[in-house]
Symmetry: C2
Subunit: 205 residues, 2 copies
């Protein structure tokens, strides 16, 4: 998605250790107009796919999931990262390792909000090693529900999360795929656009 | 707001220990249409008030803040609950005590996203003892910005957070104020509607 790639080039900051900071517009301060365009793009990409619910994980996936849900007209469920006294015992639970926070979380979704009839679109801001996604997919399968697809804002194409999830036969639509980035120069190279993107941008073909 | 009160009566669950579970529609599974109506209601209530930014705190405030920001056409900033390696050192930081999780959090907002020119609307899902709100207000004051108001989904009127914040001269618009609730019968009594609400519902006056 050219709009997102351009914004990452303009306002993203490359830090040592494969860290891409996009917190001025994506996951600390949020440009709501950009979120809306991303939600519309996923709606376009998943047109014709049956989706009954959007699942995300706290914290930075929640806003993107809520804005996107408006275009699909479905509820959002967000997985919680630690046991809360407000959650009763009836929950699906798994453990995920966070690259950003360098720790292991319990991830919890109440059994009441996932059913075998559900076709779930997972939305999240980042895909790197895929640990969070694997956890959410495990919970969806435990509920007997189906993964309709995955929508990611920024995929780190040089880490293996995208390959792992796609090799499970799951459709992953990342709106920007970073192929490489250089903390010394700040240069960010994106992977080629998806065929759908290219067609949309070049009406001749 | 009658829509929210009715939904709390229908789907809210009263638990011992002053716990009101609204996680089927407000803060675990999310009814996006309800969020939109709440956002429109805050836009109506704060009409004429200058607002440049919405501030909330992870996790359950984020979705509500993002949906609401669409009606104000402003960015959202969400405060983070613990130090992340993706946040640089340039942050406002305070500590808040969480009633729900019975622990103390560090709450952090990057200095880049609050400026002395900002007029901030704080949005959150619950107001009970007001600790989270006090933390956010402290951060806003530290940044030299102004608190334009506070929008709360559910205020526990029998706890003293609302009184504390209003006594600071800050306008708090809670869309539902629970006056009392009974875990034995499940009965929930709401405080009287605000004058604005009453006028909207009774066109004769």
């Amino acid at each position: 998605m050219k709009l997102l790639e351009d914004r990452i080039r303009k306002d993203g900051i490359v830090k040592p250790g494969n860290v891409l900071k996009v917190d001025s517009f994506l996951n600390h301060q949020i440009d709501i107009g950009l979120y809306q365009e991303m939600g519309r793009e996923w709606k376009r990409l998943f047109e014709g796919t049956k989706i009954t619910k959007i699942l995300t994980i706290e914290a930075s996936g929640i806003g993107l999931a809520c804005i996107t849900a408006q275009y699909f007209n479905v509820p959002v469920v967000f997985a919680k990262k630690s046991q809360s006294i407000n959650l009763d015992g009836e929950s699906y639970c798994t453990k995920i390792r966070s690259f950003t926070h360098q720790r292991v979380y319990d991830v919890i979704v109440s059994r009441k909000y996932l059913s075998p009839e559900d076709k779930i679109l997972i939305i999240d801001d980042f895909l790197a090693n895929g640990c969070a996604l694997e956890g959410l997919i495990e919970i969806i399968h435990e509920a007997g529900a189906a993964v309709a697809g995955v929508g990611i804002a920024v995929e780190k194409g040089f880490q293996d999360g995208g390959r792992k999830i796609r090799s499970m036969g799951i459709r992953v639509e990342s709106l920007a795929i970073v192929q490489s980035m250089d903390p010394a120069t700040g240069e960010i190279v994106f992977a080629d656009h998806s065929p759908a993107d290219a067609a949309a941008e070049d009406p001749v073909h």
